[in-house]
């Protein structure tokens, strides 16, 4: 579709909570330096914990940054989202106030929702036989994050969660873009949040055998799995006309979105579907493959994802692929599942704004089934005018977002 056919949409605020701590700056500092935020993890109530690390935020204290009643009545995933939203909205309003109300939507993805609450309350019910929290359901529901953001800021337009595993946030952002273009709203608070480092959920991930017990090393020979993370990424996206009318300067253009379903296997990825989502995002953004400078890959570090994603990248970019910087930052901030698409889009925007391709750390040597040069181990300065962020989920759901420099 020609670029001119769309109402252009921009990004005016970024916010993040991750294993790197509060804020986009904390995340980007780690990412650009190639320093991992993965730490030892020792969960309660989990005998024989086999995988002993995750990219988590052990010192996170909701009560120190949210009103006590709000901190007391929300799950960790909602708290992450509220803090990320506060940062994003703060940045968007630094130059001029946002217009809240009916023309502002909130779409926040989450793969699971209130996993920590769910785990704690199930333990009380089945094992401890103690009183359970009467507000368990409103804490656990996947739309809790979106609803609390809507309530906090008086955003009274469309408000909902997207739940599509690891593509949740990318689809939430993509849907927000489509709603802005359709003129249903003028501003949207979009992103994703996930906090599922709770014993039974962690055990369930161990059982899938996709987590590494050593180091996550995407696209490398001898990789053997991903590292789980937690956090939230939230962006303020606006119609360009609305942003300029209120007197604010955009950070970047949210140029395109593509999504597809493999319709194949519930856990096994498919290169065809992944390639289709990238091609759709490029087409939607009015970009030719050769115009892309950086791709923040899904790059989980599992055998299958990385070889499949490499095949998909080759299919889309062909012989031009070696000229594009492709990296996975998941060994730094972990695989944050339903938040991944937002956190990684934020990384791609930082890369675009700083003209620096972040590294794939822990990389040892090339694997013949993978891209040969995933910006291994050290960031690389380069000109970046257009970037993609990939998310490929269990369930065969693929989503790709394109951002370009605002001009």
């Amino acid at each position: 579709m020609a670029d001119g056919a769309h109402r252009r949409c921009v990004i005016s605020g970024l916010g993040c909570v991750s294993a790197a701590g509060h804020g986009v700056a904390a995340l980007w500092t780690k990412v650009r330096a190639g320093e991992s935020a993965v730490k030892p993890l020792c969960l309660p109530r989990l005998e024989h914990q086999q995988v002993k690390t995750a990219a988590h935020f052990p010192g996170f204290d909701a009560a120190s940054c949210l009103d006590k009643p709000l901190a007391d009545s929300t799950d960790r995933f909602t708290q992450f989202a509220l803090l990320a939203a506060a940062e994003a909205i703060g940045q968007a309003q630094a130059q001029a106030p946002l217009v809240f109300g009916d023309r502002m939507g909130v779409i926040i993805g989450s793969g699971i929702g209130g996993a920590v609450t769910s785990d704690d309350q199930h333990y009380k019910f089945y094992v401890a036989k103690t009183r359970t929290d009467p507000m368990t359901i409103p804490r656990v529901m996947p739309n809790a994050a979106a609803s609390h953001i809507s309530m906090r800021y008086g955003a009274t337009g469309p408000c909902f969660a997207v739940s599509s595993a690891c593509s949740s946030a990318s689809q939430a952002i993509g849907l927000g873009l489509q709603m802005l273009r359709a003129r249903l709203i003028d501003t949207c608070i979009v992103g994703g949040s996930e906090a599922l480092l709770a014993p039974a959920f962690f055990r369930a991930w161990e059982s899938l055998r996709v987590m590494t017990s050593t180091l996550c090393r995407p696209f490398s020979r001898n990789r053997n799995g991903m590292v789980l993370g937690e956090g939230a990424g939230v962006l303020v996206i606006e119609a360009e006309d609305a942003c300029l009318a209120r007197g604010a300067q955009p950070l970047a253009l949210l140029a395109g979105y593509g999504t597809s379903s493999d319709a194949q296997d519930i856990v096994r990825p498919d290169a065809e579907g992944a390639a289709r989502s990238m091609a759709l995002a490029l087409s939607d953004a009015g970009l030719e493959p050769h115009e892309v400078d950086y791709v923040n890959a899904h790059g989980t570090g599992t055998i299958l994802n990385d070889s499949c994603e490499s095949a998909a990248l080759t299919k889309v970019f062909g012989p031009g692929l070696p000229g594009i910087a492709v990296s996975s930052t998941k060994p730094i901030h972990g695989h944050t599942l339903g938040a991944a698409g937002a956190i990684e889009l934020i990384v791609a925007i930082c890369a675009l704004r700083e003209q620096l391709a972040p590294p794939t750390i822990n990389w040892l040597e090339a694997d013949p089934s993978c891209i040969a040069d995933p910006v291994p181990n050290a960031a690389r300065p380069r000109s970046i005018a257009a970037a993609l962020s990939n998310s490929f989920a269990f369930g065969g759901i693929n989503a790709c977002l394109a951002v370009t420099a605002y001009a």
Binding site: S207, R209, V210, T212, S213, G225, V267, T302, I303, L304
Partner: protein, 90 residues
């Protein structure tokens, strides 16, 4: 029956335990477990292998992420060799 000469870094008692587990958890006739049998011919799908891995973990107290050797395993011999590297020695 096992083929003679199959290379395994695994002692006979561990191998027997492993084959018992694969037969039980994968619901495969123990007599059909020859090292050159393909997963396909044994009817072992990826979800069956996850159950087998879980049972191996319970039995041997190890964690086995899916790496190249497991991912590439096409025959029972490949699987046994891939698992052998994760089992405690002795």
């Amino acid at each position: 029956m096992l083929q003679p000469g199959t290379q395994q870094a695994i002692d006979q008692s561990q191998l027997d335990k492993l084959l018992d587990l694969i037969a039980k958890e994968g619901m495969v006739d123990r007599a059909k477990l020859s090292m050159d049998a393909t997963m396909e011919s044994l009817g072992l799908k990826s979800s069956d292998l996850l159950i087998v891995l879980m049972a191996v973990e319970e039995q041997f107290g190890v964690y086995i992420p899916v790496d190249d050797s497991l991912s590439d395993a096409r025959t029972l011999g490949d699987l046994v060799n891939a698992l052998a590297g994760h089992l405690p020695h002795g």
